[in-house]
């Protein structure tokens, strides 16, 4: 056996090994009603909601794939418009103000907001289903010390003078997100001393509060750990945020009557208290989002 042949065999073997390694496990074929890919935003609550919707559909006989922690709203909407994902758990008012480019049409009425949202989704090949009662809106928190120092209980307590002394922290999508900096400016007239780009209500934001590099930051109304961290949520007394009810955003081609029925029945059962509890379990107690979702679904008998 000459060395040249040996060398070639080796190269072929290596390549074959690489090809074999490339072949991931294949799932056995099952008769399914179709495949749905569910996406989630880059925060735990979205992973939970994506799992709730996805597992409800799987229970009903669909093959479900997940793209969790996919990214910010701009990233996820790009993916769904391009057809890479079929469904994501949105928030009615925020979706509306994203698709209407901040025109300010969202109200505190979830049904009206969703109807308006659908006028923008229609040409994009998407549809918003029936919103749930569960709400998770943007909120703004300050450390207790800051609230005491400037006597802050609601957002309108922040005068422009005070604002110019506060460093604001939020995720990178904040500067163009209606219910973040633009809203704080237009509704409350606030311009902050500086803006630090952190994350969407995650560990970077909390670390920044802790080490004092921000004095006001974006949090969510379903966060259960704020009090324990010494943070105070300022009341949105001028109602800058609107009806951010959880609502599934689906691609029209995937939104069959059956899919709509399953998802709408889930929405009919989902409450804000459920969200708070589930988020607490995942974000603070390190339970798995899929396990928490399964527990909730079983408790509520899925989409029946």
């Amino acid at each position: 056996m000459n060395l040249k042949t040996n060398s070639w065999r080796l190269l072929v073997a290596l390549t074959a090994l690489m090809v074999v390694a490339s072949c991931g496990g294949t799932t056995p074929g099952t008769t399914s009603k179709g495949t749905v890919t569910v996406a989630g935003f880059n925060f735990p609550e979205s992973s939970i909601l994506a799992q709730v919707y996805g597992q409800a559909l799987a229970h009903d006989g669909y093959t479900v794939n997940y793209k969790l922690l996919l990214g910010t709203r701009p990233i996820v909407t790009t993916a769904i418009k391009a057809g890479q994902v079929d469904l994501y758990p949105g928030y009615a008012a925020s979706e509306l103000e994203f698709f209407n480019k901040g025109a300010g049409e969202a109200t505190s009425d979830p049904a009206a907001t969703t109807a308006k949202l659908n006028t923008y989704l229609q040409p994009a090949g998407l549809v918003a289903l029936t919103p749930a009662a569960a709400v998770d809106a943007n909120a703004f928190a300050v450390p207790q010390a800051t609230a005491d120092k400037y006597k802050l209980a609601k957002l309108s307590d922040i005068t422009p003078a005070i604002a110019s002394q506060l460093v604001f922290g939020a995720g990178p999508e904040c500067p163009t997100y209606k219910f973040c900096l633009p809203g704080l400016k237009s509704v409350y007239g606030l311009t902050f001393k500086a803006v630090k780009t952190l994350d969407t209500d995650g560990s970077l934001t909390r670390a920044a509060f802790k080490n004092g590099s921000i004095q006001i930051g974006l949090v969510f109304t379903t966060d259960a750990d704020l009090k324990g961290l010494g943070l105070v949520v300022l009341e949105d007394d001028k109602h800058m945020t609107a009806a951010d009810n959880v609502v599934p955003i689906v691609r029209q081609t995937v939104a069959t009557d059956n899919v709509k029925a399953v998802l709408n029945s889930i929405d009919a059962k989902l409450t804000t208290a459920d969200l708070v509890s589930m988020v607490d379990q995942v974000a603070n107690q390190h339970k798995d989002a899929d396990a928490v979702a399964t527990a909730w679904l079983q408790q509520h008998n899925y989409s029946s």
Binding site: S7, L69, I75, A79, K210, L229
Partner: protein, 222 residues
């Protein structure tokens, strides 16, 4: 992490959680290997002809090297992100980037390997009547094999590291667990996935080093 930032203390590795979540890591490893494998196979398929061409037609050498060096400076996250409008949040986006970087590494090694074929060997082959293609396939490439495998080694280790970054565009294998650990502030998947990524790369490196040695029993390799 400074204490008091989070309510629940979180050990660096929660062995209970880990023992009940092995399938999660197995699935991540599979995805990681798949992404890496496609990149290496695709990279080889492209860089062998490209390297041979650059070796044959010297005029291609400088442009090929120059383009590689410029591409090298582009952070992979930027490359992946810029491909999104064209290829979407898909495996294709990740692989265009990963294969691109693999080609940059391998084409150089193919060229160096071919350049290392002694002139008298080529002469002898010509004298024996080998036509250029046969000479390439049966004499030059086998002699260049150690250098090529050295390149595969470097490309594999590098790619395993770069695959974690594709988690930022929805893929990533072990990178997904790193991302989850980051976003959920959960140490165990973060630490274990990082360690597994390093281990995977080192195992691949040692295995390929062995292959390199097998390919040239007559020479010592560094």
């Amino acid at each position: 992490m400074p204490t008091g930032v989070f309510l629940v203390a979180d050990p660096w590795v929660n062995w209970d959680w880990l023992s009940t979540h092995i399938p999660l890591f197995v699935a991540a490893l599979q995805e990681h290997l798949t992404l890496t494998g496609i990149a290496i196979v695709g990279g080889l398929a492209l860089s062998l002809p490209l390297g041979v061409a650059a070796h044959r037609w010297g005029v291609l050498r400088s442009p090929v090297l120059a383009v590689s060096e410029i591409f090298y400076t582009i952070p992979s996250i930027a490359l992946f992100s810029l491909l999104i409008p064209y290829t979407g949040l898909t495996v294709v986006t990740a692989e265009v980037g990963l294969i691109g970087y693999t080609v940059l590494i391998l084409v150089r090694n193919v060229m160096v390997g071919l350049e290392g074929v002694p002139a008298d060997v080529i002469d002898a082959a010509n004298g024996m009547g080998y036509r250029p293609l046969a000479r390439l396939l049966r004499i030059e490439l086998p002699i260049a094999l150690p250098a090529i495998i050295a390149g595969i080694r470097i490309a594999t280790v590098t790619t395993i590291g770069l695959v974690t970054i594709t988690a930022l565009i929805g893929l990533g294998g072990l990178g997904q667990l790193i991302l989850r650990g980051f976003i959920e502030n959960f140490h165990t998947p973060l630490v274990v996935a990082t360690v597994l990524s390093i281990a995977l790369a080192l195992i691949a490196d040692v295995t390929l080093a062995g292959a390199q040695r097998l390919a040239v029993p007559w020479a010592r390799n560094t």
